[in-house]
């Protein structure tokens, strides 16, 4: 029997980059086919070609062994191809339900009027299927990034599909939501849907995948059953070399007190007390909506605080804007790099220097050569894959965009750096480099707070782990004490008796 979907000889060229070159793979019905590869390997490009979002320069797409025309998203829908994009395609002004049924609105019988009650009901059903409860009338603008991802997934599930491509669906999700998603995937498999799954979290591949195809630099490298692969071989195919350990932890060399938060209240945050030392890496754990991002934003002056005292390096600070926070020595790498991090129309160079233009200017005048030198240094240090520093960040792959924002904050030379989901959508090789980079910062005496939904990662990089639940700090664990079980317990609201104050 012909496979459900077959792509072969696919080629796509952009000015200065060959994104895909003679790439192909097969998807059978009822299987989860994982696409793997480094940042910029061409995974998303291949999926966008499949969904008709962009056009290929050459190659064939066959469905049930027959050549299929997939030139536009409408063509793709007609063939039953569903897609969850890596960058959200939701309309922020519309409600959850309106987004889920965008372009596919149920009508009242023959009348061209939208049947809102049916739309909300069906939306609630799909969201419930994912084990979540998001009000379907809420505007997408006000949702957290994890909730948006749930809506994005619900949108794809609301349609009848035969092929479902998911481009890093779990990047902003925690364990809990991931498990629910996997349940849904298993059910779709039973119904014979073919699923293409992209993720940089390798554990997930072994849990949900049936077969893998690995791309590197836009070319096909390897394809096999998941059962025939292990983590080492996956990494070798992707990166082209071996990586020894996953988390290169350096023993803590704790300096003096750097940050002290006392009785901080703001919005959902209730009475937060926390101390951070120079050279320390503190992990912030918690479920989605626990208030980790809020805490980071308040410290950074992006959101107002109601009461409490914060000292940095012995001096009391109360930044009223990010500018003041940056001047005081705080940096925040925001979650959702596309909405809150990057200026898409700007080049790699301009995005890297944006927070610290003073450093590359004399008075009001920018020095192009100083700026270029900085950008060149960071693109090579972080191995940002781009045809040049003048490339618009809009044209970079997801992981490489993340590296650009990372470079921006490294260039501010802050004494306290907060990383909110620093490795979301980053490939294994680069993850390793980022861990090393965070270690290096710590060794230089910078205090680092890491927020991550990837719990093993958080435990792997942190010296201490602070756990939050519903706006409160429910416990602080040392590296030795911090096990997945204890963190999860605290994250669900059980208060620890030991080590409450840091």
């Amino acid at each position: 029997m012909a496979p459900l979907l077959q792509m072969s000889g696919i080629r796509k060229e952009y000015p200065g980059v060959v994104a895909l070159q003679d790439v192909g793979f097969e998807l059978r019905s009822g299987e989860v086919h994982c696409l793997l590869g480094e940042n910029g390997a061409g995974k998303s490009t291949l999926m966008k070609i499949l969904s008709g979002a962009i056009r290929r320069d050459a190659g064939r797409i066959m469905i049930d062994g027959v050549d299929a025309v997939v030139d536009t998203p409408a063509d793709a829908q007609r063939h039953g191809i569903g897609m969850i994009y890596q960058d959200f395609k939701l309309v922020p002004e519309l409600s959850v339900a309106e987004n889920i049924f965008l372009g596919n609105e149920p009508t009242q019988g023959r009348l061209p009027l939208i049947d809102y009650s049916l739309m909300h009901e069906r939306s609630r059903e799909v969201i419930a299927m994912l084990g979540e409860s998001i009000p379907t009338a809420a505007q997408v603008r006000g949702l957290s990034i994890a909730q948006r991802q749930i809506v994005e997934i619900a949108k794809a599930l609301s349609k009848k599909v035969r092929v479902l491509a998911m481009d890093e669906p779990t990047a902003p999700l925690t364990e809990h939501e991931m498990k629910n998603l996997f349940k849904v995937i298993r059910r779709l498999k039973e119904e014979g849907v073919g699923i293409i799954y992209i993720s940089h979290r390798l554990e997930e591949i072994f849990e949900i995948g049936d077969r893998i195809t690995v791309l590197r630099d836009g070319t096909f490298v390897h394809s096999c059953l998941v059962a025939e692969a292990d983590k080492r071989s996956l990494v070798r195919w992707m990166v082209g070399r071996e990586l020894e350990q996953e988390y290169p932890k350096i023993p803590l060399d704790r300096g003096g007190e750097l940050l002290r938060i006392e009785h901080l209240n703001a919005g959902m945050l209730k009475d937060i007390n926390l101390t951070l030392y120079q050279g320390e890496i503190l992990g912030l754990a918690g479920l989605v909506g626990a208030g980790r991002t809020e805490l980071a934003r308040v410290l950074f002056g992006a959101d107002p605080r109601e009461s409490g005292r914060v000292t940095l390096g012995g001096k009391e600070i109360a930044p009223r804007s990010p500018r003041e926070a940056i001047d005081a020595g705080i940096g925040l790498l925001t979650e959702d790099r596309n909405a809150y991090g990057l200026i898409m129309q700007m080049s790699v160079r301009e995005n890297i220097t944006l927070s610290n233009l003073k450093e590359v200017a004399s008075g009001p005048f920018l020095s192009r050569s100083a700026e270029s030198a900085v950008a060149e240094r960071f693109t090579s240090e972080l191995r940002i894959k781009t045809p040049g520093i003048e490339q618009q960040v809009e044209h970079l792959s997801g992981g490489n965009r993340q590296k650009v924002v990372l470079a921006r904050w490294l260039f501010t030379k802050s004494s306290l750096l907060i990383f909110d989901e620093p490795t979301a959508g980053i490939d294994v090789g680069v993850k390793f480099e980022i861990y090393q980079l965070i270690n290096r910062l710590a060794q230089e005496g910078v205090g680092v707070i890491v927020i991550s939904s990837d719990l093993p990662e958080l435990l792997g990089v942190s010296d201490r782990v602070a756990v939050m639940c519903e706006g409160r700090l429910t416990g602080i664990l040392s590296r030795q004490e911090a096990t997945q079980e204890r963190v999860m317990l605290l994250a669900s609201g059980e208060t620890a008796l030991e080590g409450f104050r840091g």
Binding site: R323, G341, I343, L354
Partner: protein
């Protein structure tokens, strides 16, 4: 079907994208040069630059505003209000240097004040720029009529007309002003921190704020700059007409916005340059001048202007493809 793009068409597209409207401008100039022997003379070229200078100077301010994804509809009214105020100040017959100082200061103060008002409403009260500046437009226009009872201000000292009608080394003074404004604006946008902040705010305001860009202050400054360039143009225009006309600058906002957008600056913010705006302003100025030389009626001129704007913008879209 898979698209196959040949190398030559790619480079053609790249060329068109890079120099799109410049090509249109060149074609336009070539056409008029063929049709009218007088068109391509030094005198006529200086004449075009003089006629276009006022719109072109305001368009610089508008470029800044549009780069932040804003709009300023009040520029034409500011031109008129500034004109009647400075001419009235002039008629107080202060000694020459003092009078000049008063004119410039009072004129620029009007633009700065109006811009500050617009900027404050936009940033602090979060009202859309379109509405805020629409309101300011009718306020200043009304103020200009009220202040003069609807009658022009005449009888100004002769020296005043030097600003708008004088020449330096044979070049009209407004033309010189225009060149200075463009060079300065280019440097500011391309080479200063403020300029970079303008692009950042237009590209993604929230990301810019979280990167430490003082977004509100940037927007405020941009509207003040636009207002001041409008009032400066108001002084130039009053000087050229040697009077303060309350109905001066009628519909200027449309010509100005057309120049900016034809010049490739995105109404959504974050993309564009004053080089483009300059070419856009010249495109419109050359068209007017050329059609006048050929005695084309002003009604037909309006239609042709619309056609040229549409085709220029269309050509610019090729860049995105």
């Amino acid at each position: 079907m898979a698209e196959s793009v040949t190398r030559s068409s790619k480079t053609f597209k790249a060329l068109v994208g890079e120099f799109g409207i410049a090509i249109v401008l060149a074609a336009e100039i070539g056409l008029f040069a063929l049709l009218s022997p007088y068109f391509f003379t030094a005198e006529n070229i200086l004449n075009i630059s003089l006629q276009t200078s006022i719109i072109a100077i305001i368009a610089v301010g508008m470029t800044f505003v549009i780069l932040t994804a804003g709009i300023d509809l009040s520029v034409g009214a500011i031109v008129a209000f500034t004109g009647v105020i400075v001419t009235t100040v002039l008629k107080m017959n202060a000694p020459y240097p003092v009078a000049l100082l008063c004119v410039v200061l009072s004129g620029l103060a009007i633009g700065a004040f109006s811009g500050a008002l617009a900027g404050t409403f936009v940033t602090k009260l979060k009202i859309t720029p379109f509405i805020v500046t629409l309101a300011l437009m009718t306020i200043w226009r009304g103020a200009a009529y009220m202040f003069t009872d609807g009658r022009p201000v005449w009888g100004l000292p002769d020296a005043f007309s030097l600003l708008g009608s004088g020449r330096l080394f044979g070049v009209p003074v407004p033309t010189i002003c225009m060149v200075i404004v463009y060079v300065a604006a280019y440097v500011v946008l391309d080479r200063t921190r403020f300029g970079r902040h303008v692009y950042a705010v237009g590209g993604n305001p929230e990301a810019a704020r979280l990167s430490g860009v003082p977004t509100d202050r940037v927007v405020l400054k941009v509207y003040m700059l636009c207002g001041m360039l409008a009032s400066f143009s108001g002084i130039l225009l009053a000087s050229r007409m040697n009077s303060g006309q309350p109905n001066a600058g009628q519909m200027y906002e449309l010509d100005v916005i057309a120049a900016v957008v034809v010049g490739g600056t995105s109404l959504f913010g974050g993309r564009g340059s004053v080089v483009g705006t300059f070419i856009g302003a010249m495109l419109i100025g050359v068209l007017r001048n050329g059609l006048n030389l050929m005695n084309v009626s002003s009604y037909v001129q309006m239609i042709l202007l619309g056609v040229v704007i549409l085709s220029a913008v269309l050509l610019d879209r090729l860049r995105g493809r």
